[in-house]
Symmetry: C2
Subunit: 361 residues, 2 copies
């Protein structure tokens, strides 16, 4: 078992990474305060993990909410399903929510925990690679609005994160590969050694070898924990974690949530960020090709979708959360493992870059 600590003073918490831990009572017991526990799952995780989890929580008073699966359901109406159940059960401020699922379940459940009675405890049990290496760590919670992704939310840190490698064995291949996009992201941001390790370890990762998976999750979480600890509320460097995300969110919104998986959208987004970096002369084009090559090898897209226009992408990017008073900040790269925040992009230059991007798709 390996444990990565997210160091946030009194809000610090462990990420516990191992196989066969999803239904081990002693791990939960340390992090549940009261006796009331609401497990939030979706159609997928209910089938695979709900019963073992409930069985191991036998000493608590448990209830369950099953959310409709998928990014398209990550909205306020779904959050309200959780509030309904918490109130029907008369659960008080001392209850604990457990998010059993991927990023969507974690984001919705986390926001419900942040807002229920102005904040209750919650535990993340991420069952997808993407959730294990990214969304379950760092306290960003929230839901989408029809006009923008993750526009409604809160910073709310979990009590702990329990990442069981066994859950990746039942994950659809497409989702697993989408999760690898976030793993590769950490290499690109500021860890060139990790990028090299991923490249060499890719066959083992794609074969779902548990030891390789645990190592990939551990190193990803270490990277994320370090960045989050230094800048919990994204005043500065935490924004580096959004590498590829401004382009990627525009893709997700334009195609409709859930048509492209988040990891697929940001894989294309990171390639776009790399090309935009090269177009400014920040990065050599051989590096762009190296980046495109690893995403292609995994089987992830390196170009945005065909049914989307440059203007549409541009308008959606201007609605990004990193826009301040109409000034857009992008995460760009000087090299693999050397990303930086680039502020104040000239709108015309971005638009012509996008026009070139979309003429090729």
């Amino acid at each position: 078992m390996s444990t990565v600590t997210v160091d946030l003073g009194e809000r610090s918490y462990p990420i516990i990474i191992d196989t066969d831990i999803i239904s081990r009572t002693e791990i939960y017991r340390d992090h549940i305060a009261g006796r009331n526990v609401l497990v939030v799952c979706d159609d997928n995780t209910r089938q695979h993990y709900l019963q073992p989890l409930l069985a191991c929580l036998g000493e608590f008073n448990t209830a369950t909410v099953c959310l409709p699966a998928g990014e398209a359901n990550k909205n306020l109406d779904t959050v309200n399903l959780i509030f309904d159940e918490l109130l029907k059960q008369n659960f008080d401020r001392n209850c604990t929510l457990i998010a059993l699922g991927g990023g969507v379940v974690g984001d919705i459940c986390g926001f419900a925990a942040a807002a229920y009675q102005r904040g209750v405890a919650f535990i993340q049990v991420p069952t997808t690679l993407l959730a294990q290496v990214d969304s379950s760590v760092g306290g960003k919670t929230g839901v989408n609005h029809a006009l923008g992704k993750n526009m409604i939310g809160a910073f709310h840190q979990p009590q702990c994160v329990i990442a069981d490698m066994d859950t990746l064995q039942t994950l659809p291949v497409r989702e697993f590969k989408a999760g690898l996009a976030e793993v590769i992201k950490y290499g690109l941001i500021d860890d060139v050694d990790f990028f090299s390790w991923i490249k060499s370890e890719l066959p083992q990762l794609l074969a779902l070898e548990r030891h390789s998976l645990a190592e990939a999750v551990r190193r990803s979480c270490e990277n994320k924990a370090r960045i989050v600890s230094a800048d919990e509320r994204e005043q500065g460097q935490r924004a580096l974690l959004n590498l590829g995300h401004t382009f990627g969110h525009a893709i997700e919104t334009a195609t409709g949530y859930g048509v492209w998986l988040h990891g697929e959208a940001i894989a294309a987004g990171m390639c776009m960020a790399a090309r935009f970096s090269a177009s400014h002369g920040y990065m050599e084009s051989t590096k762009v090709r190296e980046i495109e090559a690893i995403f292609s090898e995994v089987g992830l897209p390196v170009q945005p979708p065909q049914n989307m226009t440059a203007k549409q992408c541009y308008d959606l990017m201007r609605r990004d959360k990193k826009v301040r008073d109409d000034v857009l900040t992008l995460v760009l790269m000087k090299d693999i493992g050397e990303s930086f925040l680039s502020k104040g992009h000239e709108h015309n230059r971005l638009l012509s870059f996008l026009q070139e991007c979309f003429s090729k798709t």
Copy 2:
């Protein structure tokens, strides 16, 4: 002009109390960061104050949302109206929301500010006595759920509070009197001098004399600011501010939000808390009569409504946010100006007290 500071470290902010300040540009300018401002009003405040306020914000890029008035509309759907407008306007994280209205507008707008893009700035411009002395101060924001009041929310402190005594002149008498319930509350909690002052000043207050009003608001805010500064997230003593509220919330929920005004419900609630305190021998019954007398003199209820049962009240009280693992904490009194938190109430004793209460109504 008097200013009361809510001392919360880097989240400290001033409460500015005076006449004729609601449309003074320089007061807002100090507290608006970016250039985008969304004014949130309701049908009442739109009529009286929206145009002067927008006129004084001429140097900013402003937009407006008008919410349906009343506690019955304090729900997630109404919060969503604010998100809709913010996103239609493309307002980014650097925008500022202004809550122009009573407690309902302030609570909804504050929660929208807490959750929009995980938190943006907001300014409280309370236009009712209740909002000026209570709900606009202290950072509690949120909305109701069909199964319980203020069950969904966040702690989110404003940039400043602007309390203009002129707004009280156009307030319906019933609402003004309801606000006095919260003013009297501060006397009951721990300020017997203030209680005596209110008693002697009551004719002037009821005559809406601006100097008396400003003094009542200032002393109320000083009391609240002191308690909030010591315990922002209600880990302990802040709960004293809920004197009368556990009974009162049950009344509001049972009668349907908005049928009884909040101040009316907590006036009856404080009298019930006083009688419950006396029934335990904590307080002399002469004090109970003194408390009932001042509420009666204002014209506020001292008994719960007739169309409600003891069992209904009891069940709703058990759903209060101050319940932890089925243990109910009540705010009780030893004397006027000497309230305390009383934990672990025996359910049968509370139920029989309520049965006696409701047999009299």
